[in-house]
Amino acid sequence: MSVLGRIRRISGSLVVAEDMAGIKMYEVVEVGSEGLIGEVSRIEGDVAYIQVYESTSGLMPGDPVRGTGNPLAVELGPGLMSQIYDGVQRPLEGIRELSKSIFVKRGVKLPALPRDKKWHFVPNQQAKPGTKLSGGTVIGTVKETELIEHRIMVPPNVHGILKEIQSEGEYTVEDIIGEVESDGKKIPLRLYHTWPVRLPRPYLDKLEPTEPLITGLRIIDTLFPIAKGGTAAIPGGFGTGKTVTLHGLAQWSEAKVVIYIGCGERGNEMTEVLERFPEYKDPWTGRPLMDRTILIANTSNMPVAAREASIYVGVTMAEYYRDQGYDVLLVADSTSRWAEALREIAGRLEEMPAEEGYPSYLASRIAEFYERAGRVVALGDPRRVGSVTLGGAVSPPGGDFTEPVTSHTRRFVRVFWALDTALAYSRHYPAINWLLSYSAYADTVSEWWRKNVNEMWAEDRKKALNILYRENEVREIVRLVGTEGLSETDKLVLFTARLLKEGFLKQNAFDPIDAFSDPKRQYKMLRSILTVHEAISSIISQGTITMAEVEPVITDLVAQLMRGRYTIPHDKLEEFDALVEKILEKLKGLQHAR
């Protein structure tokens, strides 16, 4: 029996309804004659406070409000991949076709997964009638895209004896492909199941993130790496490069599945992904990026209540692919807009505000979100290890990192890529400030680099960072007393830091060669710069030759080395060696002339 009440009050996205006895917290309701979707966010007696996910324009007191009996849930099954959904999992492509309008009209209802499409289901050998199944067990597979073999799992909360399973063949998501008997009850199995978005999906065990998630972005992989199953935040004022960096992660990361949430940001940024990803190739597999990507779009002008939900919708899908045993990357642009949606909702409920109008539970909500990241052993058979890596943009007002969302986020993430307005103004992109950023995974992932790329990775990484740290101090000195009193070593630090910045840290996201560097190329570039640094260091330490003499001799070659990031492609890495070789020769010549 579903609850049926009526509207008492409407104020923005908030609808207050009476006669709602029996309604549950977070239950989804249908509001008004069009059945606009909303969610219960507070109950007082028989009065329910409802956040409506669509425009409430035109609703009236007295209009009906109907409970659905269910919490906000997503459909999980084949057909998710390559889709673009709104904040509550409505397929935007489908809405456009159905409404024949360029605008998103409200009240349009469509299932998240296509109902008519047939999938080729291949049952698992082990899934024979009579076997005991636990929640999460894989009973078969469907080829969802060229890249994704979709593993059909028993829903996490279902277990029992497999009574029946269909043979290999074509099925829609709603066809019954099997049946489980549990405590005398028969439960049908389909290619999809639903899961409430605010409830993290269960897993068997959480593991330590040890493997880097290679992103192809040099400053990230080499200086501030993220691990599979890790958490990262990228805060920065407007125009500092949050979105471009997150697009880069979505584009280049070595993840099996990517979920991109456009949470309260620009419509054109979603369009950009939609236009680019079907054309661009995943550098790891050579397939169109869209084959592994799901987009969720609640743009800044879409209803704000759905913005709050969009984050949970996305992370639940991420967990679902994690449970299949895949490495999933979820990026959310921007978590600040989600936090603002929380604030707006709390404000309408007249909740007591804490800092800057945000509700007092802001910190715990941020913590809960990032807690859904992790590398886990999934439930059921066979054993599968999957991960959800979370990366969130943070948009601090006025670029002020002390504001509540940034400062709370900092407490719950392990990687912090701090964007810097001054770097962005000079078009040093990515504008990740190397003095303020950090990664707690640098040590754990060094083992991987040591084994797969170079023994000396950790040492060289530290060397580079130390040069950059020292450069900052030297610049401070210059600001106070000028360049006169600098030692030759300090002058070398300034020289190498420039080389590192121009030739390594800067990375143009729109240049075909520069945009992506695999680990080998990254290390080659870094090592080249350090080799030059070390050679010069050994010359000037003898005290007879100065930086003023060194620089003119190699300036031409050094300019070429700096251009290498966008002129020397992956298959010509030996050109870096050749350049370094030439520089070393020039240096030798300089010494011999003495």
Binding site: S57, R96, V104, G237, F238, G239, G264, R266, G267, A559
Partner: protein, 469 residues
Amino acid sequence: MSAHIKDKKRLSGVLESKEVMMIKGPLIFVKASSGVSYDELVEIELSSGEKRRGRVLDVSTGVAVIQVFEGTTGISTTGTSVRFLGKTLELGVSEDMLGRIFNGLGDPIDGGPAIVAEEKRDVNGDPLNPTSRAYPKDFIQTGVSAIDGMNTLVRGQKLPIFSGGGLPHNLLAAQIARQSVVRGENEQFAVVFAAIGVKYDEFLFFKKFFEETGARNKVAMFVNLANEPAMIRLMTPRVALTLAEYLAYERDMHVLAIITDMTNYAEALREVSSAREEIPGRQGYPGYMYSDLASIYERAGRTVGKKGSITQMPILSMPNDDITHPIPDLTGYITEGQIVLDRGLYNRGIYPPINVLMSLSRLMKEGIGPGKTREDHDDVYNQLYAAYSRSQELKSLATIIGEESLSPTDKKYLRFGEAFERSFINQLPTENRSIEETLDIAWNVLSILPETELTNVRPQYIEKYYRKG
């Protein structure tokens, strides 16, 4: 969305209440029996017979909170009658609106004939479906080097001008409106101009400008002056953009929407919010200001399968020239870049005083390059940014340690910076430079630097353009 209301139980349409319970700031609280809908348009008749309009901001069984566009001055709890009109605020749109002048709610004020509407549109609009958008890519040549070379505008972009009192933002906006072309095209264009709380002389400046350029019959002006009611300001940009959407998506026109001054809009928003005693976000502005501004700025773009487009150029003044103030800050978070005017440059006589380092065009990358502007554009622009920011750094360093202690190369950077401002950024308000001229000037100033400093430029372009002028 007015259709939603009409369909329902209030078939008669209009509902009336004579019980005004409370008046507070721009709001009146009215007793109303059932049947009032959220966001509904109302007409308020004062005892004097004067009629005003407003909209329902909050409605519960028995009470409706109404924001009165023309303000509450003179409204009394007695003798006032409020009629609920059964629809949201709509604009009757037509191509004939070009060449005409309207008030901030869309009524003609130029003495011309009434508009025969082709259709009526809810002024709030609907969000564009991201799957129907087409990514903006067509280079608009504005003839202004600091924009074309460094912060390229493309068709369908929303690119605001961040300015301050006394800076020449109007002159610049007018220059852009006059000079803008998409090269190799001769398509239908129109200008929709929204004045929000501006002074009369500013309105006059634009009016005269449009007349003098002969563009008068391509322009529709929506005007709310500084001495007119503030609540109307919340509707003016929406009304103007409603016409813009009609012209772009139903009449295949390329529309340039100039909206000035968004700061006055945000102030009106704050006024309503504080009258409603809402919990404020930063500096007293409502927590939902971001979403609210987005519902205006996002009404720009191109769409799949439609010829027309809306390019938005909002103008806003930064209170105390502070770019971190919530109004420019939230705007910058929504728009696709910003053109920032700088008092220092202005005082040194540079026109347009565009601070290129703080300015940004996020859609530039797709609009430049071979076939669009020129092959070297991308590298040149990167190099100009790197070099100019270096020159600014050195300039401030030189004030501390003295110019003579800079290295010879560093001194060249100082000369470069000077030349960049004097000959690249600086130009006449009437000067219309082609993109080739802009890039040639860029190479002239870059040629001040030694070749080895140009690490952002590919060797083949250095070969072709460096020190060739």
